[in-house]
C-alpha cells in the first residue's frame, strides 16, 4: 500500500510537470517581463531601454478614455449577451424537441469554426453603406449609418461572444431537474414565479460562468472596436496594440497592461464574491 501511494505521488508530480512548466514560462515569466518593462524608459527609437521610473504610471490619465470606454462597453456588452443568450439557452435546454436539439446546438457552434476576424470582416460589408443601410434606404429610411458606431461595436460583441454565453447557461439549465418545475406549478406558482424562484436561481452558476468568460475576454478585446468602430471606439486593447505596434512605447504599454490586470483582479474577485453569495442564498431558498 505504502509503496503504491509513493509511486502515486511520483506519478502526480510527473503529470503536473508539463502544466507547471507551461505556467512558469508562458504566464509567470511574461508577467514579470511586463512588470519590469513598465518601470523602464522608452528607447530613443522606440522599444524598451532599462531604468527605473514611475512616469508611465503617472501618465495613465493620457489613456483615461480607453479605460472608461472598456469599463463601460465590457459590462454593457456582457449584459446584452446575457439578455440575448438566456432565452436561447432556455429554449435549447427546456423547450425544444429532442430530435432537433443536437442540430440546433451544432448551429450555435458552427460559426466558431471560422475565424472571428473573417466573420467580423463580413459585418463590415453587412453594416456598410451598400449593405443593410441600402435596404433601409430602399424602404424609406434614408441616410442611416450603422458601421463605425457604438451600436455596431455592441452588435459585434454580442454576435462574437454569444456561444460563450449560451453554453454555460445551457448546461446548467439542462441539468435542472424538471420535476422541480412541475412541483412548483403543482403548488400553485405562476410560470413567472416558477421562473424567478426556481429556474433562474438554479441556472445562476451557468449565468455567472458565462458572464465571467465574456467579461474577461471583452476587457482585452481590440478587433471588434477596430473593425466595426472604425478606430473611433477605442478600447484598452486598441491602446495596447497602438503602443506596441505603432508608437513603440513598450514601457507605457506595459504599465497599462499591469494596470489592466490589477483592475481585472479586483472586479473579478468582487464579482465572484457577489455571485457566490447570491447563488448560495438562491440554492438555500429553492431547496429548503
Amino acid at each position: 500500500m505504502k509503496e503504491q501511494s509513493k509511486s502515486n505521488r511520483w506519478l502526480t508530480a510527473v503529470l503536473l510537470t508539463p502544466t507547471g512548466l507551461w505556467f512558469a514560462f508562458m504566464l509567470v515569466l511574461p508577467l514579470i517581463v511586463i512588470l519590469v518593462f513598465s518601470f523602464g524608459e522608452r528607447a530613443p527609437v522606440g522599444g524598451y531601454a532599462g531604468g527605473f521610473t514611475l512616469e508611465h504610471y503617472a501618465n495613465l490619465g493620457a489613456r483615461l478614455k480607453a479605460f472608461t470606454n472598456t469599463l463601460t462597453y465590457a459590462p454593457v456588452g456582457t449584459l446584452l449577451s446575457l439578455l440575448v443568450a438566456y432565452p436561447l439557452a432556455y429554449y435549447l435546454a427546456i423547450k425544444v424537441n429532442r430530435r432537433y436539439k443536437l442540430i440546433l446546438l451544432v448551429l450555435v457552434i458552427v460559426p466558431f469554426w471560422t475565424s472571428l476576424l473573417i466573420r467580423t470582416y463580413a459585418w463590415i460589408y453587412i453594416l456598410g453603406g451598400k449593405g443593410l443601410p441600402s435596404i433601409l434606404d430602399w424602404i424609406g429610411f434614408e441616410g442611416v449609418r450603422l458601421i463605425n458606431t457604438p451600436g455596431a461595436v455592441l452588435m459585434g460583441i454580442v454576435y462574437g461572444y454569444l456561444p460563450l454565453m449560451v453554453f454555460p447557461i445551457y448546461v446548467s439549465l439542462e441539468k435542472l431537474n424538471k420535476s422541480y418545475l412541475e412541483a412548483s406549478s403543482d403548488l400553485g406558482a405562476s410560470p413567472y414565479k416558477t421562473f424567478m424562484q426556481v429556474t433562474l436561481p438554479l441556472s445562476m452558476p451557468g449565468v455567472a460562468t458565462g458572464c465571467m468568460l465574456v467579461f474577461i475576454l471583452l476587457m482585452g478585446e481590440f478587433l471588434i472596436p477596430a473593425f466595426l468602430g472604425g478606430g473611433k471606439v477605442f478600447f484598452i486593447g486598441n491602446a495596447l496594440v497602438d503602443l506596441f505596434l505603432q508608437s513603440r512605447n513598450w514601457p507605457f504599454g506595459s504599465a497599462i497592461s499591469i494596470t489592466l490586470v490589477v483592475i481585472m483582479l479586483i472586479t473579478v474577485s468582487l464579482y465572484m464574491r457577489m455571485t457566490m453569495r447570491n447563488s448560495k442564498t438562491g440554492v438555500d431558498e429553492s431547496l429548503m
Binding site: P44, K65, L117, I118, Y125, G230, K232, F234, A239, F244
Partner: protein, 386 residues
Amino acid sequence: MSNNNNDKPITATKFMKEFHRYQKGSISRRQFLGVTGLGTAMAVMATAMPALLPRTAFAGELGDRLVFSTWPNYHDQANVDQFTKATGVNVHINAFGSNEEMLAKLQAGGTGWDVFVPTNYTIEEYVKLDLIQELDLSKLPNYDAGSNDPKFAGPATVNGKVYAVPKNWGTTGFIVNSKKITSGPKSWKDFFDVTMNAGSGHTILHDYQLTTIGAALCALGHSFNSIDAKELAAAEALLIESKPHLFAITSDYQPGMRSGDGWMSICWNGDATQLKRDIPEMEYVVATDGGEIWTDFYCIPKGAPHLEAAYAFINNFQDPAVQVSDAQVHGYAPTDARALALQPKSLSTDPILHPAAELMSGLEFGAAQTLTDPIRAEVMASFKSA
C-alpha cells in the same frame, strides 16, 4: 442618398457582366475581384488556410515560399501569380498601413519577412538599427541604377552602400466624392473645414502618423514634417477637434470610400486612380498648402529566411515591362526611366500619376526624424485614444 447604382450592392446581372468582361480579358482578374468584392473574401480566406496554397512540383533552389510585406492595393495580383508560375515560389502577402507598424514588427524581431516595402524617410534608420541588408546588385540584373532619377532613388544609398531599390513614387493628397461634396476643397485647410461642417461624419484619416499629423500641420500652415512641440500640440488639437466628425481612422480607406459612407479621405495617388476607375465622381486633390511626395522601395530584412527567392522577386519587379503592367493596375508611377518610356499615353498623361510641376512644388519628402520622434508618436496615439 441618390438613386444611382453605386449606392447599391452589385446586382446579379452586373456580376455576370463583369464576369464575362473578365472571361473575354477586357478587365483583369484583379479588377473583377475588386468590383465584385470577391477579392477581399479570397485574400482573407487564403491567409487563414495556408494548406490551400497551390503546391508546385518543381520547387527549385528558390524554395516554395516568400513572405512579402507591403501596403494595401499596391500590386497587380496577375504579376505576382505570374512570378509564382515561373518560379514555384508562393508569395504570402501582408499589408500594412504605416511605416511605424513595419518598424515595430522588425524591431520586435522574428517577422519571417523576405521582402518589404518601406518609404524613403525610413531607410537610413533601418540601416542604423541594423534591420536591413546591403543588396547584392549582381543578383538584380533587371535593376538599372542609371535610369532611376536620384531625386527619388537617393535614399536607397546610405554611407555609399545600396540597401534598397525603388518601387514607385507618388503623392499624398486627398480624394473627394464630388457628388457628395460639391464645394471643391483645394487645401488641407479646406479639407478639415469641410470635415467639420458639410461633410461631417464622412471623412477618413489614415492610421499613420506621417500623413495624418502632416495633413493637420499643413492645414495650420506648418511644415508637413514638423517636430516642433508647439506646432504638434496645435495639430493634435485640430485632430481631436475633428475626431467626432470622422467616419473612420484607417489606412485601408478604399472599402469605406467605395461603400459610399466615406466622402473624403487622405489618399495616395494610386488609390485615387483605382477609385476613379470604378467611380468617376472621385476627384484626387494635391493640396495647395502642402503634402507629401514619396518613393517606396524594396528592401530585404536581416535574416530573411528565403533570401534567393527575395532577390528573384525584386528582380522580377524591376523588369520595365512588369513595372508598367503593375502601374496600369495600381496607378503609381515608376521611377525607372526605362519603364516611363514604355508606359502607354493613358499613364504618362494622367494628372493623378504625374501632377503639374507647380502643384508639386509645395510637397515635401517625409523626414527621417518623424519616424522615431516620440512627440509625433504620442500625438498620434493620444488622438486615436481621445
